[in-house]
Each structure stands twice: as structure tokens, then as C-alpha cells.
């Protein structure tokens, strides 16, 4: 469990992380999304105490990370791939970390096996490929058998095989009942593994939602309907949970909260001719782009801006 309260980090004039509030709950994969420079890495560094917050706080299992007697047992973190001394072997690297906690050598061998590093464990870590370096970083994160695993951009620069390995590992860790907190700027990657999403842009929280929630929020299940009598159709479709927008003089309506099938049936029942009826499928990628673009272009997003942006995406697609 990771809890951030009004977490803020300023570097001089620049605010890298701006009053973030979020909770990462156990037993799920939580994706931490945002464009490059959104403050994801800084937030993760604050979680493990490498950077001190300018204001606010972040706790891990109820306490600041540094206050835990065995921090590696609380959170295992992969921050940047090369948090190693290139002159030390993989085994020695892991062993020096294990020694600080009294973690037995048996566990070091275990994580080496789990990450498939047996063949290269005695080699200098500086000679490792990016993928191997990433595996070593993950081995270090797993060392204390922590309930929470935090990974910063774990698939960056990996080949397809490496990406697949990370993806399966994340799902496996969550199935074990662990809290997995993983950052990425690639929505497509997150969509495959994450249950919950925390989205940031320019250091601010844009969304704290589920994958389905994000799609719904972005008008993912909006149905576009063009008819002979939009005004009448509008009256017919209106009901609780249904939202309808449309410009006056246009024969098009945009309906959320109703399936295309239900709209078609309703129109047929009342003899309204339909010229067009289709569901606008907004991909997760588009939803994310739209959300973060808003954050960049218009500070303090308004509803009209969001609707306009949705229309642009819709017509472009």
C-alpha cells in the first residue's frame, strides 16, 4: 500500500510533482502513466526516499520508507536500469544489498534463478545488455520478497522477448497477491497488464481510475446517430444515465449510456429514419492522448474543451 498526500516536489521555479494524492492498493497492478517529464520518476524516487518532498508526504504501508526496519522487505524498486556498479558481478551486487538486511545467500541464488541470470551471475554487470541489466534490477527489487514492487519504465528499450518477459512477470507478481506499481509512457503496454491507472501530466493528477473507467470518461461508448428527426429522437432516448449532445440544425446526435442496438430499435419503433448509427470506439491510447493533451494545452480543463477534443478524435478516426 502506497499513499501519497499532497505530494509535491519543486526544483527552483519548476514544479515537477504538484500536490499529488493517490493510493496504490494491494493485489493489483497499478499503472502510473504520463508523458515524458510528467513527474513519474520523481514521484517514485520520493516513495523510496531518494528525493525528499518539498511538501506533502508519501507513505509505504503506513510509514515513511526510511522509517521501516527492513525497507527492502516493504518495497522492491527498479528505478533506473543502471543502479549498479559496472565493475561488480551480478551475484556480488545482489549479495551486498542482501547483507544490509541479513537476507540469506540462499535468497540471492533464488532471485538470480527467478530472473534467469544463472549463466551470467559471475560476470561483470557493466558488460550486461539492456535486457540483462533490467533483469538484474528486477532481481534486486525481488530480493527482500516485498509485498510491493515498484518499477519505473521497465520495458523501455527492451526487445519484444524482453517486453513479453516483463509483462508476464508483472502479471505473475500480482497473481501472487503483491502490489505492483509500474510506470510507463506507453498506454498500449499498460492496457495489457494494469487493472488500475493513475495518470499524471505536468506533475498533476489527471485521472485515478480503472481501464474501463478511462474509456468511459473519454466517451469511449459514445454512439453517433444521424436521423431524420433528431429533436424527437432526443426526447425519446432521454432517461437516467443517458447523455445526449448535438448541435441545433444538425441531424447528428451523440449519445452516451445507450447501446447502438437500443437506439436503433427505439428509432424503428417510432418510425424515425436513421442515416447513420455507429459506436465510436476510442482506444485506450486515444483516451490517454486526449487526457494528457488537455493537460498540456489547456490548464484547468473545461467540459467544452474536452468535448471538442473528443470530436476531433472521433472525426479523425
Amino acid at each position: 500500500m502506497i499513499e501519497a498526500q499532497q505530494l509535491t516536489k519543486r526544483y527552483g521555479e519548476k514544479t515537477a510533482v504538484d500536490r499529488l494524492d493517490f493510493t496504490v492498493k494491494p493485489g493489483t497492478v497499478t499503472g502510473f502513466l504520463g508523458p515524458n517529464g510528467a513527474g513519474k520518476s520523481t514521484t517514485m524516487r520520493m516513495i523510496v526516499g531518494l528525493d525528499a518532498p518539498s511538501a506533502g508526504s508519501v507513505t509505504v504501508n503506513g510509514r515513511r520508507y526510511a522509517e521501516h526496519a527492513a525497507p527492502l522487505q516493504e518495497v522492491g524498486a527498479l528505478l533506473e536500469a543502471k543502479s549498479i556498479h559496472p565493475g561488480r558481478s551480478a551475484f556480488n551486487h545482489l549479495n551486498t544489498l542482501a547483507l544490509t538486511h541479513g537476507i540469506p545467500r540462499r535468497r540471492v541464488d533464488e532471485v538470480i534463478e527467478m530472473t534467469g541470470l544463472q549463466q551470467v551471475a559471475k560476470k561483470r554487470a557493466g558488460a550486461f545488455s539492456l535486457g540483462m541489466g533490467q533483469r538484474l534490477g528486477i532481481a534486486a527489487a525481488l530480493l527482500g520478497d516485498p509485498a510491493t514492487i515498484m518499477l519505473d519504465e521497465p520495458v523501455n528499450g527492451l526487445d519484444p522477448e524482453g517486453v513479453l518477459w516483463i509483462r508476464n512477470l508483472l502479471i505473475g507478481l500480482a497473481d501472487d497477491g503483491r502490489t505492483v506499481f509500474v510506470s510507463s509512457h506507453l498506454m498500449s503496454e499498460m492496457a495489457l497488464v494494469a487493472d488500475h491507472l493513475i495518470i499524471v501530466g505536468r506533475g498533476r493528477l489527471l485521472a485515478d481510475t480503472t481501464v474501463e473507467g478511462l474509456i468511459r470518461q473519454s466517451g469511449g461508448d459514445t454512439v453517433k446517430v444521424a436521423s431524420s428527426d433528431p429533436a424527437r429522437l432526443r426526447e425519446l432516448l432521454a432517461g437516467p444515465g443517458v447523455e445526449i449532445t448535438g448541435r441545433s440544425g444538425s441531424e447528428e446526435l451523440e449519445v452516451t449510456g445507450l447501446a447502438a442496438r437500443a437506439i436503433g430499435l427505439k428509432a424503428a419503433e417510432h418510425n424515425i429514419a436513421l442515416f447513420e448509427l455507429h459506436t465510436k470506439a476510442v482506444s485506450l491510447e486515444e483516451a490517454f492522448m486526449e487526457l494528457t493533451r488537455d493537460a498540456v494545452e489547456y490548464h484547468g480543463t473545461t467540459t467544452t474543451a474536452a468535448v471538442e477534443a473528443a470530436e476531433t478524435v472521433g472525426s479523425a478516426a
Partner: protein, 283 residues
């Protein structure tokens, strides 16, 4: 209320993690970790060997030249005229201190230049135990290497100059004190290196300051008027160190014990600066 509705709220938020081993970060464990870190790098072995080589080689060459000049009846350098077996054989300390000081800088600043510091501080987020452990580990290593170097250099070197006016043996007054102080001097310079490395977080910067303080500042101070020089010079780290292991004291050098105290204070100052930066600034 049926049991079915109660179940979700009763379900544990976190998975059952009973029976996990209770790990704990302790000062002794951080010390063991730093000890393992030090010996698992090839650069440590190479630089220590180099330091030992410098102490022995330059000491023995100096002793041999003294003997050769004396035998040949040649004119002798003024700084070698009043030499004794201790001052001749410990000549290599000037070079050994650079090797050990640089290795000390590497022990601390090397973690920053490589990125290892992130792993280190994630494991020990209280941070200060890491600095103390590095200082102790490297201080002890440098003490052993320095003391062994001083004793071996004197052991062979005193044989070379035996029978000359510089001749001394282990049993002569002050010799053992000089040799142990020589080891202690190198240990303190090594710890200074660790502190500078942690303070500056840069290998190049740490080495520059170390070399500057040990070699350039004494030269600059010698440009000052003599009356100032006599007051200032003796408190410089390198000169305080000289007086620790010199067999005889001049009018303007400190007593060995005072020299040790002065160098220890310099070291403590550097460590305090390093501790402040480590604790206060982001890694």
C-alpha cells in the same frame, strides 16, 4: 445480515504474509555490506597493491640513493643531509597517500558516478550508516596496508643504510611510534578521501581537492611571509601528518600527538560536511 455480505469487508486487504523472515537493517550489517562491496571490485585490489608498491619502492630507492651517495662521497641534496632511516624509508608515504586517498574518493564518489548509490540508499534509506560504514571499512583497510607498508619499508630500508650515520633499528627510541603513526596517517588520509568523495559526489572533483590540499596548498603557503608561514603551515593536513611520523621535531612542527589531533580534526570536519550533504540533499 447474512455472512455473504460480511465477507468482502472481512477479507484482508493485503495477502497473508505470516511466516516471513524478519529482516532488519543494522549498523553491523551495513558494515559487512560495505566490506563485501569494497573487496568485490577489482579497482580496490589494484589500487591497494599500487599504494603498497609506492610506499615500499620509493622508500627503498630513497634509502639506496642515500647509501650510494654516501659511499661515493658525492655531494648530497640538502634535504637528505640530515636524514635518518625513518625519514628515508617513509619517503614513499608521499606517493602512497595519493593512491590511498584516491581509492577513498572512489569508494564514495564511485557510487554516484555509476548510479550504485540509488541501490545503496534504497537498501539503507537512513543514509548515514552507509557513510560511517564506508569510512570504517576503508579506514581499517588503509591502516593495515599503511602500517604493513611502513614496517616492511623500514625493515628492508634500515638494512640498506645500516652502518651509516642514518642507521636505526626497530628498538631505537621513537621508531615504532613513527611507523605506527605512518599507518595511522595513511588511514586518516584514506578516510578524508571517502569524506571528500561523499561530499563532492564526483570522482574528478574529489581527487582534485585531495591532490590540491595534499600537494598544492603547502606550496602556496610557502609563498606567504615567513612569520605567517610558521603559524599556518604546521596545521595543514599534510604537515600535521609529517609531524605525526617524523622521528625528530623542528621548531615549527607540531608534536606527534598534536599532529595526529590536528589531522583527526580535519578528517572529522570533512566527514561532517559529507554527512550533512548526504542527509540533506537528494541522492
Amino acid at each position: 445480515m447474512s455472512t455473504a455480505t460480511a465477507t468482502p469487508t472481512d477479507a484482508p486487504a493485503a495477502p497473508e504474509r505470516a511466516g516471513r523472515p524478519a529482516y532488519k537493517v543494522t549498523a553491523a550489517r551495513v558494515l559487512r555490506s560495505e566490506w563485501a562491496k569494497f573487496w568485490s571490485l577489482r579497482s580496490s585490489w589494484i589500487t591497494l597493491t599500487l599504494a603498497l608498491f609506492f610506499v615500499l619502492a620509493f622508500g627503498l630507492i630513497r634509502a639506496w640513493r642515500f647509501k650510494a651517495n654516501l659511499d661515493a662521497g658525492q655531494h648530497m641534496d640538502p634535504d637528505m643531509l640530515g636524514a635518518n632511516a625513518v625519514s628515508l624509508t617513509l619517503f614513499g608515504l608521499n606517493f602512497g597517500q595519493l593512491a590511498l586517498g584516491v581509492l577513498g574518493v572512489l569508494v564514495a564518489a564511485g557510487e554516484y558516478s555509476t548510479g550504485m548509490i540509488r541501490s545503496t540508499l534504497a537498501a539503507v534509506p537512513r543514509r548515514l550508516p552507509v557513510l560511517w560504514a564506508k569510512a570504517v571499512v576503508f579506514g581499517v583497510v588503509a591502516l593495515v596496508v599503511g602500517t604493513v607498508g611502513a614496517f616492511v619499508a623500514f625493515g628492508f630500508g634500515s638494512g640498506i643504510v645500516s652502518g651509516t650515520r642514518a642507521a636505526l633499528t626497530f628498538s631505537d627510541a621513537g621508531v615504532l611510534r613513527s611507523l605506527f603513526m605512518a599507518g595511522l596517517y595513511l588511514a586518516l588520509i584514506g578516510v578524508c578521501g571517502v569524506a571528500l568523495g561523499a561530499l563532492l559526489r564526483s570522482v574528478a572533483g574529489g581527487i582534485a581537492i585531495l591532490v590540491g590540499v595534499l600537494m598544492l596548498v603547502p606550496g602556496l603557503v610557502s609563498l606567504l611571509p615567513t612569520s605567517w608561514q610558521n603559524n599556518v603551515s604546521q596545521y595543514l593536513p599534510s604537515h600535521a601528518g609529517d609531524s605525526m611520523y617524523a622521528l625528530h621535531q623542528d621548531a615549527h612542527t607540531l608534536a606527534p600527538g598534536t599532529g595526529l589531533l590536528v589531522l583527526a580534526l580535519w578528517t572529522a570536519l570533512a566527514l561532517a560536511g559529507a554527512a550533512y550533504r548526504l542527509k540533506r540533499t537528494d541522492a
